[in-house]
Symmetry: C2
Subunit: 108 residues, 2 copies
């Protein structure tokens, strides 16, 4: 439990995994799509997910550089769980826009 939480229980990791659920994406694409994440935080998020075997980093030796991120097999097993989480969120708070202590920005 602590381990799955170490992977999912962060601000950005579930979002990154969700974004990669059916297509690979480049660093800049993720950065643009998520919008409010800084490059530094995205970098560490991606690095940690790679270390955990959740995603794969493919670097093309070009100029300007290109790096593509994609889910590993293990990463893909997390997708249904994340979808369930998003669904729960939606069902239980969609109408109830009340003050949640940890709700600081819009849902994703």
């Amino acid at each position: 439990m602590h381990r799955s939480m170490a992977i999912l229980g962060t601000k950005w990791k579930p979002i990154v995994i969700y974004m990669l659920r059916e297509r690979t994406a480049r660093f800049g694409q993720l950065h643009a799509a998520i919008g409010s994440i800084s490059k530094k935080v995205l970098t560490t998020t991606l690095k940690e997910l790679e270390e955990d075997g959740i995603l794969h980093r493919k670097e093309f030796k070009e100029l300007p550089p290109r790096v593509e991120y994609s889910l590993t097999e293990r990463g893909r097993t997390l997708v249904p769980i994340i979808i369930q989480l998003a669904k729960w969120d939606n069902e239980h708070y969609e109408h109830n826009k009340k003050n949640h202590p940890a709700q600081k920005e819009a849902a994703v």
Copy 2:
């Protein structure tokens, strides 16, 4: 997504919810069962879960005091998700060590 993570993406909340999945429990019982949690942290964990509508706090006006915690309807909807998370954890870490020594990704 941020909201379900605010509830599940913490150290103790998923554990408390899991413990209450099929029976109510008193403060002291939770404290003893979890073991490594401090009373202060358990108190705030329970208070936040109550504010989020995940569990119900029933105080008996006795001496010595008695307080019983139980999941609300909404709290119960989180149980299957938590079970899935625990299952994922098990399959991808514990299980690997014991029964699947030759997994591809375990080679790293």
